[in-house]
Amino acid sequence: MDPAPLRQHRRGMDFLGDGLRRAFNLLGSADAEVYGIALLTLKVGCVATVLACAAGIPVGFILATKKFWGRRAALTVVNTALAFPTVVVGLLLYGLLSRRGPLGGLQWLYTWQAIVLGDVLLAFPVAAALSAAAVQGVDPRVRRTAETLGAGPLRAAWTVAREARFALAAVITAAFGQTVAEVGAAMIVGGNIRGATRTLTTAVALYTAQGDFGLALALGIVLLLVALVVNVALQLLQGRGHA
């Protein structure tokens, strides 16, 4: 091999290796900043997922089971919103939350609540569209059976949800993934303030830009671990696979 590209290749490997070593040292030394960022990310992700699913899953149920004027248009809107760019959501929210904006009175700009709001806006279409698809995938006889046996609307919906539990767990996982992985809205409305609104993704973006590759990589690994823990917890909640 030509010596110049070989040297470049070795430098790249060293760079990655140093980064990984640094990442594990940081994780092993219980770095307060890293754990603070991870905990904030987990808090924001959990709160936003709960809110987005609490609103989005019932909307998905309604879209899947009720016949009403404009239902197809609503489904199209929700499906389109899945591809909404996170920075655009951040910009819109910035306009709403800034001091002169209609929600300026809340004084949420550059707080973790603003990041939650942005994440809810991004995860809501995920929860609504995917839960609508999950419910549509359930045999329609299940709902009819529940109703003809005397179930009210809530019990009938719960019976359908039990049949679609694996798909609905995937909805929650996808919504959580959306909230912890997005960076655009969190950066714009959170401001990436150290010790206050710095999440794992905004920190990775910052430290990469600053050339602190090890710290960025460490935070990336923590992000993956957080996602892994939440997924394992959800799988345990689903119970065993029997009918």
Partner: protein
Amino acid sequence: MLELRGVRHAYDGRTVLELDAFALAPGMLTAVVGPNGSGKSTLLRLLALLERPTAGAVLLDGAVVSDARRRPATRERRRVTLVEQRPVLLRGTVRDNIAYGLRARGQSAAAAASAAAAAADRLGCAALLSRRRHELSEGEVQRVAIARALAIEPDVLLLDEPASAADRAAAQTLYRTLAEERARRPLAVCLASHQLEDAYRWSDDLRALADGRLSPVTPENLFRVVLPPASADGMTHAPVGSLAIALIADRTGPAILAVPPTDIFVSKAPVPSSARNVFSGTVSRVARHRPGTVHVTGDFGVELVATVTEDAARELGLGPGAPVTFAFKASAVQVF
């Protein structure tokens, strides 16, 4: 008790059911028979208050409970229950399934489980209580679904082909259980079936559906045809399989033909008469109908059913494989 008045039901603009009146009375078992696609399942879903009619109304004890604008309340739906042709069991054990309706009515888990065990016992599925749906055969699922429906003690029980997956013995157990249940309390039962013999044997009232309308005659000898223009003598010859049935009609195009079994004259060989329709073939089945009468099914390329007295059947030697001639007048053929 439960009735349809002036009901029309359409899917995507296509009318699938049109009934001026249809009523179920307490303590009566009404059988609805008809070919696939005749509207039986739609009729049962409307009666079960699971769908609202496009036009007309469903009434319960004389009060409108479901129409195009009014959604039935849960307490009204709880008086009626439907067992679908291919019932589905919900997640959980057979016990959970049978107890489901009782739990939905607010019964405690212990009371519901005890009632579920009693209902399962009546349908001969007590041994299945701890099993889950994937551990059951199709026939067992059907029995559990009927036990689940009986457990809630509805005022109206609707059954769509309840014995379609059952063997003969299981079907008889089912009908006997229904008879016991009706003897115990004024339960109205409506069952859709294509098994005419069971329908005749167990029902108090038999209705035939064809193309979403009630047939004015009994369900045998119903044919979907395309009427050609009348010939010069004013007679229409409608093709039914390999037969051409002579009839009097004032229209052409798609129609349903009905030949009432009691209007068919049965003999061993053709005899001179005014009948325009004379078909010779062999007897394929003879079934006892009501006391004193039998249904004779003749194979003429197309099966036709005639009703004769037991004495006449004996005198003519009507048994499977025996030669037989059916004759009926063109004016006996009903077109609708």
